[in-house]
Each structure stands twice: as C-alpha cells, then as structure tokens.
Symmetry: C2
Subunit: 257 residues, 2 copies
C-alpha cells in the first residue's frame, strides 16, 4: 500500500458536506473522491479527511489521504482525478507520503475564513454562495470580542450537539480581520489547534451579535464560562460564508510527528 | 411617466443572457426585471438595457431604464426589486432621471473585464463560472497584441454574425492587464465607446491565441485589415469569463447629452 496525500478545493454549495452519508442523502465530497480513486485502482478505497465540513461549507485546502495499491503509486493522480471528478471539486496537490502521516490525527492546526457581506441595501449575486449577508456591523466591537477568544479555553459553549469528543478545550492561535474580495465584504480568519462541531460558525454568530449591539464584547467571557450552547441566544452563522483554507501538519522528518 | 434608472449586478450562469427571448427559451435578466416592475406597477412595462449580454456573461454595472407611472416614482425601488427578484440579480442603485437619459442611446463608454485562469494543473471550483481555463500563456506577447487594438479601428473582423449595425468602427480607450481575484488568474479590462456583437470575446480569443504562440502580436493589424471574422481561425472566448463592469453616460445637465 502507498499513502496518497491530497489537497482539495471545493465549492460546497451543492454537496452534503465532506463526510459520506447514508445512501439516500445527497452527494458528498468524500464519496465523490472515493468513487474516482476506487475506479482507477480497481478496488474499493477509503478517504480519510482532516475533518468534516458541513453542507454548504467550502474548502481551498482540505486535506485527505487514501491508501492505494503500490502499483498505482506512480500515476499522475492530480491529473487523473481532476479529469474525472465533479467540477465542483479540484485536486490542488497530490503526492505519496510516509504512512506515519495521517490526514486526521497528524493535524497541528487549521485555518478557516468566514466572509461577511456588510451592505444592507444590495449584494453582489456572484458572491451569494460565499458570504453571510449580515448587514452593517460595528467592526471595532467585533475585534474586541475576537481578542477574548484568543488562547486556550473550554469552547463547550460554542459546540453544537453531535459526535462526543474527549475534551472541549481548544487553543485559538489567531482570529484576525481582513479585507474581503469586494469592498462590501470583510473576512475573519480563525486558526486553532482544532475546532469543535460548528465552533467557527458559533463564534462568528456570536461576534455578529456583538456587531449588532445585542451583546457587549466582554460577554464572550460570560458565554465561555457557561459551557452550554443554549445558555445564550444568538445565531449560528450560516455555512456558505465559511471556507477551510489550510491544514498544517507535523512533518515526520521534523521529529514532531 | 417617470424614468426609473437602474444599475444591476447579475450572475449570468443560469440566464439566457440579458435580452428577452421567445417564450420557450430560458429566463433572461430583462424578463425577470420586467416581471417584477410590471407586477408592482400593475401595468406591463418594458426595460431598456445599455445593450445585450450573452448567455453566461455576468454584470456588476449593467444599466437599464424603465418608464413607470408617476404615482410609483417615489417607491423604494431598490428595496422592492431586491426583495422580489431572482437572487442571481441585484439592484445596485435605483433613481429617477430626466427623460432625455436613455440607457442605450446615451452611452458614452463601456468597460468589460475578462478573467483568465492560467494554471494548467488545477483550478479553484469556486471560480469555475467566472473564468476561462486558458492555461499557461505568454502575457507579454498578449500585452503587445492588446496595444495594437487601441484607438479607432474597423472591428468587423472581431464581430460575430448577428444584428446588422450601421458602422463597425469603434474606438478602444483602454485595454489593460490587472491582477485577478486569485494568484492563478489575470484580468483584461476593455473600455470602448461601444462593442460589436461578441467583440470582446473575439478580441480575448485572439489574444489567447497570441499568448499560446499561435499568432504573433503584430498579426492583430492583419486580422483587423481583413474585416472578416472567418479570415483567421482562433477561438471566441467562452462567456463565463466576461463581466460588464461599468457603463458611462453623458449627463443631461453637463451639456453633453
């Protein structure tokens, strides 16, 4: 077996997220990828992603590995997959890696970007599948809230119900504001050692509530302390504004793996 | 009657272009706009665009006027139309103008942008409806070709068959290269006093043929001189890379109208 390591971009609009679903649910990115690689290999393969992305969430740098027969290791996998896969998915990079590398377990940090549309009078239709039309917001108040998310916290309050996890403590390395693709947009970029289920969308939803004056920036500390998603009422940001930008891995030869 | 002046953005992907078609053809932007304004006015209205855009072509600043009953002139048309129209269309600006202003006949110049995807190994699916995947190109050769399009020429060679026009002479004011939305893209921006049918797409197609080494930059002059689209073989650039960005008008109070 050889471990094929893939970096993927996808537009999540028409997918039921990354993770394979029961047969009757819609198409998933994992399913589309497994179908192509299995067909080329002549055997059924499994793709292991760095983590799930929700239905409608996009990626520029999702990472997955697939174990393939040694005889197939030398193929031009980037070309082969791109020629056959759904055009809403693209392989940005493909290479063979050491079997000690694991797309899920070797993750050191992830970065997500969330795009907000700030103009309440109109929007650009070309951007409608990539932004949350949140309307005018107090960006300085949101910056102040963002600063309070930095560092190590128990993020249980920002986790939606789902798969149980051992610990709900995560470390946020960066939460910074950037210019968007158009002058009416703003982007927040979230980096952490890992994210709980819908954690970015809940943090973004709370920050928007702050930007609308419904909470004060310092309320971040109260909400974190509650360790309960239902303790305070604020929206979960919708999926289409979210994009998984990069996943950083420990390199096996660096001694960190 | 009052003249309602609208600036529109649209994603052209799922439309059969701007212009109203026979009943069985698909949805057009003009048709979608007329439907909403007619319903609100209670009478059938006609929208006059600055010009047609082809199926799949986008707009950030298409302009149209609609004559509406005086009693409806004070409505918040931007809000009303945006609340009712197909989400692939958005009204960027709405105002009442002097009846001497005409969306088609008062045009002074138009600017189109054309986006090319240059990476031959992969693309970003989020951009697939907004770029031509042309692959690696010699951009300096294309710049040299672009320079030869500048100024007043008979552009008959770059016109596809269609509606007859009085003159095929147009003046290109600017044809410049810009950074794209991603590092793998490049944008050419075309400004002229007017464009013939598919003129931008033919000019872009010829420039790409130059960028691929199939023609020399100085061949632009030979092709112009032929005054015949079929004299030389090169592709018409596909519609999805094209966007109508701005239309400039003579202002009635400036004495230029």
């Amino acid at each position: 077996m050889a471990r094929l390591w893939l970096t993927l971009a996808y537009e999540g609009t028409d997918f039921c997220g990354w993770q394979l679903q029961a047969a009757k649910a819609g198409q998933t990115v994992q399913g589309a990828l497994e179908d192509v690689v299995s067909r080329v290999c002549g055997v059924s393969v499994r793709a292991h992603g760095s983590g799930r992305t929700d239905s409608g969430v996009h990626a520029l740098g999702q990472v997955a590995h697939v174990d393939i027969p040694d005889a197939k290791a030398a193929l031009d996998w980037q070309h082969i997959i791109n020629a056959q896969i759904d055009p809403a998915i693209s392989i940005i990079d493909a290479r063979i890696v050491d079997e000690s590398m694991h797309a899920r377990y070797s993750v050191v940090s992830k970065t997500y970007a969330y795009s907000l549309w700030l103009n309440g009078r109109y929007s650009i239709p070309q951007r409608r599948n990539f932004v949350w039309k949140a309307g005018p917001l107090d960006l300085e108040a949101m910056d102040a809230a963002a600063a309070l998310f930095m560092g190590e916290h128990d993020f249980r309050s920002f986790q939606n119900a789902g798969t149980p996890v051992k610990s709900t403590v995560r470390t946020v390395h960066a939460l910074t504001r950037h210019a968007g693709q158009t002058p009416d947009e703003i982007v927040w970029r979230f980096s952490a050692d890992g994210f709980l289920k819908q954690m970015v969308r809940n943090m973004m939803g709370f920050m928007v509530a702050v930007g609308r004056g419904q909470f004060a920036p310092q309320d971040v500390s109260r909400v974190l302390a509650a360790t309960d998603r239902s303790a305070y009422r604020y929206p979960t940001a919708p999926p289409q504004g979210l994009c998984l930008e990069t996943v950083v891995y420990a390199q096996p030869d660096s001694g960190q793996a």
